[in-house]
């Protein structure tokens, strides 16, 4: 028979399975018609009706056997048997709802956690960048805040280094945002780039062209837009090249459209040449570098060339490294991702162990069943198939439950991730991760599900039937279960210790004093395009009208503006030397460093809104307007630097360079606390605040800080409405609470904390469930022994103690192993993740005690059952 014909026959038979009712009816009809034809002929031949019928039946043969063979031919008997097995499995699982629910929940939880975490890891870390030959695309990683632009003048890079010996293409970029003046006005992510940028990525425009040197030298107002921007904001038209868009109030010509997937850096929607708009990011964009290595050039070689080109040496140049761009983007997050992945793997491991344990727990009951079935003639293969069907059914139900659970988990987990995370948009329920995880669960279910069948082989039928009640799992299986329990407890303790450590870490970071309370404070950003808001007067007219409008809103306690927000300052914010009038200035070559401070411009109400405490003097007032004498407020550490107490400082004058190289002498009206401008774990910055209202400073990128009487987020719509009354073309962006600003600095660790707390709790729960199962099983197995002991006078309390002790013995062993593992894991983690404290012995001790306590409770329930054993009943049950 040709394969095609065999396949055809198989299809028929498979169809037969579904059409079995109809086939059965047809078969009966056909057989009946056959008999009738035969009877007719017999009658014609002169037989009596009875004889005719009998003869026909006789000649037809054994009807039932023929029907059976006809049925076998009409379907695939193996499928029928498999279906029967599955049906039986479902029945068995439904008859033990507690067991089934526990096993399914365990597996589903483990799979969901695993699939969600692996999906994130895959999208963020594993998937290569969407550029040709992504391994050759490199970025630079330097010390914090230092960028390549600090030592290579941009114009140099444009002119001379667009391609070098090591780099096929080399470009600079700075990420920021622009007001898109479309309908409706929107804030879009944008980047300023040099012509070499797209070449470095290997991205070629889908429509139109990218930038040329001319675009850069003439600071042309030209733009390249992303695929998303083109589709959503420009209608996806083909003739888009040459059309015009408004960015920050200025007219730009669209040169081209990038293909889908190109949105580097930070989900950029529009790229403009580096000099086209200085308001892209704060006032001074922070540039960094991207390059495409030539064939055969290694990153270290490229680094050497870069440093030579830049003629730079020195301690921080040593820290500069050329690394694959993907590493530059997510490299810092790797340790945290590793931690979370390890956690997910451990939870999956626990889930598998627990399922194994639950399946093994049923060995005893099943063994009896199997031995009886073997004695009744079931083949070993049939029993194995039966067990396989049960495990598979279990795994399938758990898998089905895991999918929605994983999607919910993933959505929740994604919401905890920092918005700027590379690959965030690409995170989706990953089929690959799901398959891997489901495969692991399946293997567990199969492997441990087979145990009863394998062990059924050991006992001979007659022996089993003789002493039915004493059939127990073999020693091997009992020991396996106990060791699995030890592993489970150990892993749970490791996860709990990890969770505790991360909670401490994050709470510590959250509580770190940054000099700013920031409670109930909402932060909004707005960019005033320099085209319309040219002078301080124009900008301030808007700012102060907005400030007053917001102040009048209900639920607002204080409102103010600043040019730089604490914990979110531009990397280029630098301290300048500022002296106190009348004090000798330290000589530059002297040992003593001159007092210096970062200079900030704030409106009245700012200190109150953001929560910076006043130490002496006063804060700014509405009446500190232009024309009045210049005023400043200084922070404590500047006060210390000039060696005066805050009180003494108030009323003195500072000396600083003003416009046109003149020195100015503003009066110090107040002293406030120091704040941390960049990171919670950095040093405090000395600061000098200028009043925005004196119009000496034009503020085009303001942070508006609003303190509410309640939840400040509720105020956002009213604030937006107030702003659009003043200028409807201005979009607010980065609207968030100050706590959010703070949290962005350790979003990775917070993510790790939340996942680890969830993982730890799940692992703990599962291990306790496992413990309960094992003890309950031991009690069940020893029912007779316990009954006899009670009958001959053992005190129930003593029996109970012994049962609990056997459970606690396993737990203690697991805790000991877990403590050692946790200490090791903590050391590894502390070396890689900033802010992770040492794992204190007390923490481990407390956790272990808690686990032991719950373990005692978990063991107590079956132990109590043991003491209720009625000796008479147990003995009669034989």
């Amino acid at each position: 028979m040709t394969p095609a014909r065999r396949a055809r026959a198989h299809l028929h038979r498979m169809a037969g399975f579904f059409l079995r009712r109809r086939r059965e009816r047809e078969m009966a009809e056909e057989f009946e018609s056959h008999l009738q034809l035969h009877i007719d002929e017999n009658l014609r031949a002169g037989m009596s009706p009875e004889a005719a019928r009998r003869d026909a039946m006789l000649k037809f043969g054994p009807v039932e056997a023929i029907k059976e063979s006809y049925r076998d031919q009409s379907r695939l008997p193996r499928i029928d048997a498999a279906l029967r097995d599955v049906k039986y499995a479902v029945r068995i699982l439904r008859r033990h709802p507690a067991f089934s629910a526990a096993a399914i929940a365990t597996l589903a939880l483990g799979m969901a956690a695993g699939a969600a975490v692996f999906s994130i890891v895959d999208a963020v870390f594993l998937r290569p960048l969407p550029y040709p030959d992504p391994a050759r695309v490199v970025g630079v990683k330097g010390s914090q805040g230092q960028t390549f632009a600090d030592f290579v003048p941009r114009i140099d890079l444009k002119a001379r280094y667009r391609s070098t010996r090591s780099f096929g293409a080399l470009g600079l970029y700075a990420a920021g945002g622009l007001n898109f003046g479309g309908e409706p006005a929107a804030r879009i992510n944008a980047a300023a780039v040099t012509p070499g940028f797209f070449g470095a990525l290997g991205a070629h425009p889908l429509v139109g062209r990218a930038f040329t040197d001319d675009d850069l030298t003439h600071a042309s107002r030209v733009a390249v837009v992303s695929h998303v921007f083109w589709r959503t904001r420009m209608g996806g038209r083909d003739d888009v090249a040459g059309s015009r868009i408004t960015l920050n109030g200025r007219d730009y010509e669209v040169l081209g459209v990038m293909p889908a997937g190109v949105s580097f850096p930070d989900r950029t929607q529009v790229w403009i040449p580096t000099d086209a708009d200085s308001q892209l990011l704060g006032n001074v964009p922070a540039f960094t570098l991207v390059g495409r290595l030539r064939d055969g050039v290694s990153p270290p070689e490229a680094r050497t060339e870069l440093l030579t080109l830049a003629k730079t040496t020195g301690p921080w140049a040593d820290k500069l490294a050329v690394v694959p761009l993907h590493d530059a983007l997510v490299g810092e997050l790797r340790p945290v991702a590793g931690l979370v992945s390890a956690g997910a793997t451990l939870v999956l491991l626990i889930a598998c162990i627990n399922t194994a344990n639950l399946l093994l727990a049923r060995v005893a009951a099943r063994r009896r069943e199997f031995v009886v079935r073997r004695a009744l003639g079931a083949s070993r293969a049939q029993l194995v198939w039966q067990v396989l069907a049960e495990s598979l059914t279990l795994a399938a139900v758990a898998g089905a439950a895991a999918i929605p659970l994983a999607i919910v988990t993933l959505r929740f987990a994604t919401s905890l991730l920092p918005e700027t995370l590379h690959g965030l948009d690409a995170i989706e329920m990953n089929a690959r991760a799901m398959v891997v995880v489901a495969g692991m669960a399946l293997v567990t279910a199969l492997f441990f599900g087979l145990a009863p069948a394998i062990s059924a082989r050991d006992a001979s039928g007659s022996e089993a039937l003789r002493s039915v009640s004493s059939i127990s799992m073999g020693r091997f299986w009992t020991r396996l279960r106990s060791s699995l329990l030890v592993v489970e407890v150990a892993v749970a303790l490791v996860l709990l210790a990890g969770a505790a450590t991360l909670v401490t870490t994050v709470l510590g970071l959250m509580r770190t004093d940054v000099g700013v309370r920031g409670d109930r404070a909402l932060v909004l950003q707005v960019t005033l395009p320099r085209g319309q808001y040219r002078t301080p007067e124009q900008a301030n007219a808007f700012h102060f009208a907005l400030r007053d409008g917001i102040a009048r809103l209900g639920g607002v306690e204080a409102v103010g503006m600043t040019n730089q927000l604490p914990l979110a300052a531009s990397p280029l914010l630098m301290a300048a030397t500022i002296a106190l009038e009348g004090q000798p200035r330290p000589r530059p070559e002297g040992r003593e460093r001159p007092p210096s401070a970062v200079q900030l411009a704030v409106s009245h109400g700012y200190f109150e809104a953001v929560g910076i405490d006043l130490v002496a003097g006063r804060t700014f007032r509405d009446t500190d307007r232009a024309g009045a004498p210049r005023l400043v407020i200084v922070s404590e550490s500047w006060a210390r630097a000039v060696k005066l107490t805050p009180r003494e400082l108030v009323g003195r004058r500072a000396v600083m360079s003003g416009p046109h190289d003149q020195e100015v002498f503003p009066e110090i009206v107040g002293v406030v606390r120091d704040v941390k401008m960049r990171k919670p774990d950095a040093k405090f910055d000395a600061a000098i605040y200028h009043p925005l209202s004196d119009n000496s400073f034009v503020l085009n990128n303001a942070f508006i800080v609003v303190k509410g009487t309640g939840d400040p987020r509720m105020l956002a719509p009213a604030i937006r409405a107030e702003a659009s009354r003043l200028d409807p073309t201005l979009p607010f962006f980065n609207v968030r609470t100050f706590d959010d600003v703070r949290a962005t600095h350790f979003a990775d660790r917070r993510f790790a904390m939340v996942t680890m707390v969830v993982f730890g709790s799940v692992a703990f729960l599962l291990s306790m469930l496992g413990l309960y199962g094992v003890i309950a099983y031991l009690v069940q197995m020893r029912t007779r022994e316990i009954g006899i002991r009670i009958a001959i006078g053992a005190a129930p309390a003593q029996v109970q103690r012994q049962v609990i002790a056997s459970g606690l013995g396993h737990t203690a062993a697991g805790l000991l192993a877990g403590a050692v593992l946790a200490a090791g894991a903590a050391r590894v983690a502390a070396g890689r993740i900033a802010g992770i404290p040492r794992l204190e012995p007390e923490v481990i001790g407390t956790l272990a005690a808690a686990v032991l306590l719950v373990a005692a409770a978990a063991a107590w329930i079956p132990a109590r059952r043991a003491t209720r054993i009625d000796p008479l009943l147990t003995l009669k049950a034989e």
Partner: protein, 113 residues
């Protein structure tokens, strides 16, 4: 083995196909009777055993079945050769020919070898 020879499955299939080729569409009872007659009543089979074989041939696409009415007005399922069935008869017949020829040589008296 008794005189009422057991019918080997493959042989039965070939007999069915050959019968249908000679007789045209026929119902199960007709095929059974015809096979018996053709064998000169030397071959008796349980008529019922024919049906699994018919089903198999149908599944393989060598024959097609259709409900119809017999000459004496009984509802019956009629089987007919398909195109693939016709080819199969030719192929199987020549295979059979070859097999019997070879076997015949073995069975022939010593000197004819």
């Amino acid at each position: 083995m008794s005189e009422k020879t057991d019918v080997w499955q493959g042989t039965l299939a070939l007999m069915v196909l050959k019968t249908l080729e000679t007789m045209g569409p026929l119902h199960g009872y007709g095929i059974a009777r015809r096979i018996e007659q053709t064998s000169g009543e030397r071959l008796t089979l349980n008529y019922g055993t024919l049906y699994p074989a018919l089903l198999k041939l149908e599944q393989e696409g060598y024959i097609a079945a259709e409900w119809g009415v017999s000459e004496n007005n009984r509802k019956a399922k009629f089987y007919a050769l398909t195109r693939a069935g016709r080819k199969q008869v030719a192929r199987a017949a020549s295979d059979w020919q070859r097999t019997t020829e070879i076997l015949a040589r073995f069975m022939a008296p010593e000197h004819s070898r």
